[in-house]
Symmetry: C3
Subunit: 132 residues, 3 copies
């Protein structure tokens, strides 16, 4: 079954942690060993795994991505969000996570983040959990 | 079973949409609920999910990737395609897509694109569809 | 079952090939057709697929990533490894590989690389092999 997480982003660029939501879905479905696929159905948002302890890591990632791919540049796309599309492909629109002992197998400092690049907006994340 | 899509790229840098081919493969194998893994066996090409409506999105992505990773720079690799190798790792060489109700679960504006970075060439894409 | 590869990186930035280790794990578990999920439980390291023939490809990738995301910049994160965190999200922390005929389905020039961005360190890689 495919689960659904609704996200209400508040800024143009924002990293929103999904780790707890995902672990709750894993617990609810009762899978002890398996794989968790998380996908974003948007083209101006992405998903990534990175540090969830010190928020300055996300601040630096946000600032650096916006330096590499500036909001304003010589873009052809007329909607003003070309940078968001490009960031989405750099970061990627899905992650694959392992499930062990009934929870996501993540490192001590890892969290899963929805990456808003063209907010604020209502967004969706799809999750498929497969037991093995 | 692993399916195979043959691609005949026409430019050095080109985004070639695979969404219809992939949905045809999903339909042919009869999987209603599952996961679709798509991989590229090349080191100078990638695969990504992004907007398939306005082609200027791909034009901006192409131009921006080539600005970030220029074709000519102080590269050691003597084959002249270092930029293509680096772009391949930035974009990634595989995507994982969810299947729901017998088709790929993509957002309204999402398409799946083979990313040629060192064409024109004959290229391959491998697809494994897993029913659940 | 989840397998485990231990890595002993020797440099700050280093690409360490895992292809042989992964193919050994595939052979040991006896899976002929399937999927292999490889994840990194770290936030300053990644994993990618790229050329394993000419080492200058990795040298160019290393130099280019460090040009795009410099070690020293106006970062907020006080631990001195913001660049490593950002590179990790650009390259990604997992790869999905297909298994065909009892081995990884990779292209002729493809290898799987652990990407150390904040070494030297002891590191871990997790591998889940799923037969179909």
């Amino acid at each position: 079954m495919i689960e659904h997480i609704r996200i209400d982003s508040r800024s143009q660029n924002e990293f929103i942690e999904l780790t707890q939501d995902l672990n709750r879905l894993v617990a609810e479905c009762g899978v002890r060993e398996g794989v968790c696929f998380v996908t974003v159905p948007h083209t101006t948002a992405g998903i990534t795994v990175n540090e969830n302890d010190d928020p300055t890591v996300r601040a630096d990632m946000d600032a650096t991505l916006s330096r590499i791919v500036p909001y304003l540049a010589d873009y052809q796309h007329a909607e003003g969000n070309s940078a968001a599309h490009i960031k989405a492909s750099l970061v990627g629109s899905s992650v694959t996570l392992l499930i062990r002992d009934g929870q996501l197998l993540l490192g001590r400092w890892q969290g899963v983040f929805f990456c808003e690049f063209d907010g604020p907006r209502l967004r969706d994340v799809y999750v498929r959990i497969v037991g093995l």
